[in-house]
C-alpha cells in the first residue's frame, strides 16, 4: 500500500513521532501507578458541567489500569507499526489524528468515574473508529463498512445513554464508584436491556457481530488496535465495570452466558471457514469477546479471575498476530491462506513472532495463553451458577471455542510459514524493523508472563478485585498439578490439532454455512431508506391542495371528536325579537359567501366579498362596536382596491379549472361549516366569565384616563400587543415590497 513510497521518513516524520511518544509517555506514567493502585483505587476530579452533575473524574482502579496499560502500551507499538506501514501515505497525518483521538476516547472511557463522561468518550471511540475504518475513503466497500460500524455501535450507544439515564434515576447519581447494587430496583430490567444493548453492539456479540469482520476494511494497524486491545473491549469493559452493581441477578447471568457462549462458538466456527488470514483473526476476536462476556456472566470469583487473565492474554497475542498479518500482506502482497506457504526462510523474524503469539493463542505451555485457558477451564468446571446445566454450557462453550482456536492459530501462525515456497504477488521479504518490533515484543511478553506469572498478577489482582467488587486473590501457577483443567486442556489440544489437520476439509464442509446477519443489515438499511422515501413522498406530495385538504380534514376530526365527547347538541336560543335588520345581515353574509364560492368572474367575487365585509361591519355596528366597524369598513375598502389593482395584472379565473363542482371538497367544507355552527352555539350558550372585562371597565377611567374602553385596552393595557400588531403589518409590507421590487428587476 504505502510501503516503498518516496516520501518515507524515519518513524513517519513529526506526526509519527508524536503519535509514538504520547502513548509511550502515558504508558510509562501508568506503569508508575501500578504499585499505588495495587493498594487501592486513585481518585482525581474536576467539574465539567456542574449544572448536570457531570465531572471529569478519574477513577483508576485495577480494571481501569489494566485497560489503560493495554491502550497505551499496545497503542505505542501500533503507532510505531503504523509509521512504517502508512508513514509514506498522503493522509498519514490525518490517520495519526484519528488514531490519537481514538486513543484519548478509549482512555477517557476506561478512566472516567462519571457515567455521562464515560458515555461522551464512548461516542468519541465510535466516531473515531468510524473515521479509522473508513480511512480508505475512495473505496466504496470501506465507506460502507465504516458506516455499518457507526450505525450499529452508534445505535447501541443511544440505548446505552438511555440506560445511563435510568441508572442515574435508580442509583441516585452517575458516579460509577458510588453506584449501589441495582439488581432489586424496579427499573432494573430496563437498565439491563439498554446497557447490554450498548455493550453487545460495541463488543460485537451475536447478532450484532457482523460489523466487526467488515471493519477489516481498515488498515491493518487499526485492526490490530481496535480489534485486539481496545474498542471492541469497550463493551467488555462496561460489563466488567458495572458487574458489581448490575451483575447480581439471574437475568444478567443468563443473558451474558447465552450471548457470550453463542458468540464464542459461532465465531470460532466461522473463523475456520475464512481463507483471508485477517478475517480469521477478526472472527477469532469475536470468539474472545464472546468468551469474556460468557465469563463475566458466570460471575464467580474463579470466572472473573479467568476473565481478566484471558483479557490480557488475548490482547497480547491478537495484536501481535494482526501485525503479523500486516507483515505477511506487506511482504508477499496477499493474505490468502490457500496461497501462502513456506515463508519461514524469507521472513524469519515474522515467523518467530507469529509462532510464539500463535502458540499463546492456541494455549500451549509455557506461554501466557496456556495460563489463560487453564484458568478459564478452572472457572468453568467449578463454577456453581445456575446448577449443572450452567456448568455444562460454560465449560462446553469454552472447550469448543478453545479447540477451534488451536486450529485457527495453526492456520494463521503456522500454515503460511511451512511447506514448499509458494508463488506470491510480491517476492516474500521481511518488513522494516518498525513493523516487526511490535509483534516481537508482544510475543516476548506472552513468554515472560507465562514463565514468570507473578509479573502479571500485580496488575491482574486489582483488576479482578474491581470487577468482582470484592477482593480476589490472583495467584498464577504454570504447573498446578494434574487437575481437571489440565486434562481438559490435553483433550483440547488433541481436538484442536485434529481440527487443524482436517481444516481444509472442514472449510469445504462449511462452504454452505452463510452468515446471514450482514445481508440482513443491508435489508434493514434498504428498508429504512425505502420507507423514508415512501413517507416523504406521501406526506410531502408537493401539492398545496393535498396539504390544505389534510389540514381541514384534521380540523374536521377534532371538531367532530369535541362535539361527540361533549354529548348533547346545544339548544338554539329562541329566535324571537329578531328584526328585519338581523335577517338582512344573515342574507348579506350567507349569499355573499355562497356567490364568492361558486362564481367564475373575478369582479363578481370581489363584489361578493365586499358584501360579506359590509355584513360583518353591520354586525359590529348593531352590537355596540363602532370602532371595530369603522376599522372593518376601512380594511374592506383597502382590500377591494388592492385586489382590483392586482386584477389588472392577473389572468381571468379559468372556468374549466374552477367551475367543476368538487364533490369531496364540498362535503368537507359543508361539514366543517356545520360543525363550526354547532360549536359556536355551544360557546354562546355557555355563561361568560367577565372578570377581565370588569377590570378594564373599572380601571379605564381612573387609572388610564380614557373613556373609550376599547381604545384604552389597545393603546394602554395591551399596548405591547398593539405594538406587535404594527410590527406584523410593517413586516408584511416590507415583504410585499421586496417581492414587488424583485419582480421589477427580474422582468
Amino acid at each position: 500500500m504505502a510501503a516503498g513510497s518516496a516520501k518515507r521518513r524515519p518513524l513517519g516524520g513529526t506526526p509519527g513521532i508524536v503519535s509514538i511518544a504520547l502513548p509511550a509517555a502515558a504508558f510509562a506514567w501508568f506503569c508508575l501507578l501500578i504499585p499505588q493502585v495495587a493498594n487501592g483505587p486513585l481518585f482525581w476530579s474536576v467539574e465539567w458541567v456542574p449544572s448536570l452533575g457531570v465531572e471529569i473524574g478519574l477513577w483508576i482502579d485495577g480494571l481501569s489500569l489494566l485497560f489503560a496499560l493495554l491502550i497505551t502500551g499496545i497503542g505505542t507499538l501500533v503507532a510505531l507499526y503504523s509509521s512504517a506501514y502508512l508513514g509514506g501515505d498522503d493522509h498519514y497525518t490525518r490517520f495519526v489524528c484519528y488514531l490519537l483521538a481514538f486513543m484519548v476516547g478509549m482512555l477517557g472511557l476506561v478512566l472516567s468515574d462519571n457515567l455521562l463522561a464515560l458515555f461522551v468518550f464512548w461516542e468519541v471511540t465510535t466516531i473515531s473508529s468510524y473515521l479509522l475504518i473508513g480511512y480508505k475513503a475512495d473505496d466504496p466497500a470501506s465507506r460502507r463498512n465504516a458506516l455499518q460500524a457507526l450505525v450499529v455501535t452508534g445505535t447501541g450507544g443511544l440505548a446505552f445513554l438511555a440506560g445511563i439515564v435510568l441508572i442515574g434515576a435508580a442509583g441516585g447519581g452517575f458516579q460509577i464508584s458510588q453506584l449501589p447494587d441495582l439488581s432489586e430496583h424496579v427499573l432494573y430490567p430496563a437498565i439491563l436491556v439498554l446497557v447490554l444493548a450498548g455493550a453487545f453492539t460495541k463488543s460485537a456479540q451475536v447478532p450484532f457481530h457482523f460489523w466487526l469482520p467488515n471493519a477489516m476494511a481498515a488498515p491493518t494497524p487499526v485492526s490490530a488496535y481496535l480489534h485486539s486491545a481496545t474498542m471492541v473491549k469497550g463493551g467488555v469493559y462496561l460489563m466488567a465495570r458495572l458487574n458489581p452493581s448490575l451483575g447480581n441477578s439471574e437475568a444478567w447471568t443468563i443473558a451474558l452466558c447465552a450471548f457470550g457462549g453463542v458468540t464464542a462458538v459461532f465465531a470460532s466456527i466461522m473463523a475456520l471457514k475464512q481463507t483471508d488470514i485477517k478475517q480469521v483473526l477478526a472472527w477469532t476476536t469475536l470468539m474472545a469477546l464472546g468468551t469474556l462476556t460468557l465469563f463475566i456472566g458466570a460471575g464467580t470469583e474463579a470466572a472473573i479471575k479467568g476473565m481478566v487473565v484471558f483479557l490480557l492474554v488475548h490482547a497480547l497475542y491478537k495484536a501481535a498476530l494482526f501485525m503479523v498479518a500486516g507483515l505477511i500482506d506487506h511482504g508477499t502482497g496477499t493474505r490468502d491462506a490457500n496461497v501462502l506457504s513456506g515463508l519461514m526462510k524469507a521472513m524469519p523474524i515474522t515467523f518467530i513472532a507469529a509462532i510464539v503469539a500463535g502458540a499463546s493463542m492456541a494455549g500451549l505451555p509455557p506461554l501466557f495463553g496456556f495460563l489463560g485457558k487453564e484458568y478459564l477451564y478452572d472457572a468453568a468446571l467449578e463454577q456453581d451458577v445456575l446448577s449443572r446445566g450452567g456448568v455444562l454450557w460454560v465449560a462446553g462453550c469454552a472447550f469448543a471455542a478453545s479447540a477451534l482456536m488451536v486450529a485457527a492459530a495453526g492456520i494463521v501462525a503456522w500454515r503460511p510459514f511451512v511447506g514448499p515456497k509458494a508463488e506470491t504477488p510480491v517476492k516474500p521479504h521481511e518488513g522494516p524493523w518498525g513493523m516487526w518490533i511490535g509483534p516481537l515484543i508482544l510475543a516476548a511478553l506472552g513468554v515472560a508472563f507465562g514463565v514468570i506469572p507473578s509479573l502479571s498478577t500485580i496488575v491482574l489482582e486489582p483488576a479482578a478485585t474491581a470487577v468482582m467488587g470484592a477482593p480476589v486473590p490472583v495467584e498464577l501457577k504454570l504447573w498446578a498439578g494434574v487437575t481437571p483443567a489440565l486434562i481438559l486442556s490435553l483433550i483440547t489440544f488433541a481436538t484442536g490439532f485434529l481440527l487443524y489437520w482436517k481444516h481444509r476439509a472442514i472449510r469445504r464442509g462449511l462452504g454452505r454455512l452463510r452468515d446471514r446477519a450482514d445481508p440482513a443489515w443491508d435489508g434493514i438499511m434498504d428498508g429504512v431508506a425505502g420507507g423514508s422515501k415512501w413517507l416523504a413522498k406521501t406526506v410531502q406530495a408537493g401539492s398545496l391542495r393535498t396539504y390544505i385538504f389534510i389540514t381541514f380534514l384534521t380540523l374536521a376530526a377534532v371538531l367532530l371528536t369535541t362535539i361527540w365527547r361533549t354529548g348533547a347538541l346545544p339548544s338554539a336560543p329562541p329566535l324571537d325579537d329578531l328584526r328585519l335588520k338581523h335577517w338582512s345581515i344573515l342574507i348579506f353574509i350567507t349569499a355573499g359567501a355562497a356567490v364568492a364560492a361558486v362564481t367564475n368572474s373575478r369582479m363578481t367575487a370581489i363584489a361578493a366579498l365586499g358584501t360579506v365585509g359590509v355584513g360583518v361591519a353591520l354586525v359590529f355596528i348593531i352590537f355596540g362596536a363602532p370602532d371595530v366597524a369603522i376599522t372593518q369598513l376601512l380594511i374592506e375598502v383597502l382590500q377591494v382596491v388592492l385586489v382590483a389593482v392586482a386584477m389588472l395584472k392577473l389572468p381571468h379565473m379559468k372556468p374549466d379549472v374552477v367551475s367543476r363542482i368538487r364533490g369531496w371538497d364540498l362535503i368537507l367544507a359543508l361539514s366543517i361549516g356545520a360543525m363550526t355552527t354547532v360549536v359556536m352555539l355551544m360557546v354562546m350558550t355557555t355563561p361568560l366569565d367577565l372578570r377581565i372585562t370588569q377590570f378594564f371597565e373599572a380601571t379605564s377611567a381612573p387609572i388610564a384616563h380614557g373613556r373609550n374602553i376599547v381604545n384604552v385596552i389597545l393603546v394602554d393595557f395591551r399596548a405591547l400587543d398593539t405594538f406587535g400588531e404594527i410590527a406584523v403589518v410593517a413586516i408584511a409590507a416590507l415583504g410585499a415590497y421586496a417581492l414587488l421590487r424583485g419582480t421589477r428587476r427580474n422582468t
Binding site: 336560543p573 329566535l575 329578531l578 362596536a625 382590500q639 352555539l681 361568560l688 373609550n708 403589518v729 410585499a736
Partner: protein, 117 residues
C-alpha cells in the same frame, strides 16, 4: 340573534374551506378573506352580543353604565382585523409575484421546489 350569528359563521367557514381547496390560488386568497371574517365573528360572538351599547364612559363617570358591550373581544377583533389584512396583502403580492415568475395561478403547476416525479 346568537343562532343567526352561528349560522353566518358556519356559512362563511364552509365557503372559505371550499375556496381554499381550489387549485386556483386567487380563489384560495378569497377563501382567506372569508375565513378571516369568520374568525373575527367567532371572537366577537364569543364575548356575548349586547345590542347598541358601546363600551364608553360618560364624562363625569368613572365606569360605564351596566349592560354595555363586552370591550375585551372588541379590542381583540380590532387587532385581528388589521393582522388579517396584513396577511392578505402579503399573500396577494405573493400570488402576483408567483404569477409573474411561474406564469400560472394553478397551485398544482407550481412545482419548482417539489417537481413531480
Amino acid at each position: 340573534m346568537e343562532t343567526l350569528l352561528a349560522l353566518m359563521v358556519g356559512a362563511l367557514i364552509a365557503a372559505a374551506v371550499y375556496l381554499m381547496l381550489a387549485r386556483n390560488v386567487l380563489r384560495f386568497l378569497f377563501g382567506l378573506i372569508l375565513i378571516s371574517n369568520a374568525a373575527n365573528l367567532v371572537i366577537f360572538g364569543s364575548g356575548g352580543l349586547t345590542p347598541e351599547a358601546p363600551p364608553l364612559i360618560a364624562y363625569g363617570a368613572s365606569a360605564p353604565p351596566g349592560g354595555v358591550a363586552n370591550a375585551l373581544p372588541q379590542a381583540l377583533v380590532l387587532t385581528a382585523i388589521v393582522i388579517g389584512f396584513g396577511l392578505f396583502a402579503f399573500a396577494l403580492v405573493l400570488v402576483y409575484r408567483g404569477y409573474q415568475n411561474l406564469g400560472t395561478l394553478d397551485s398544482e403547476e407550481m412545482r419548482i421546489a417539489e417537481p413531480r416525479e
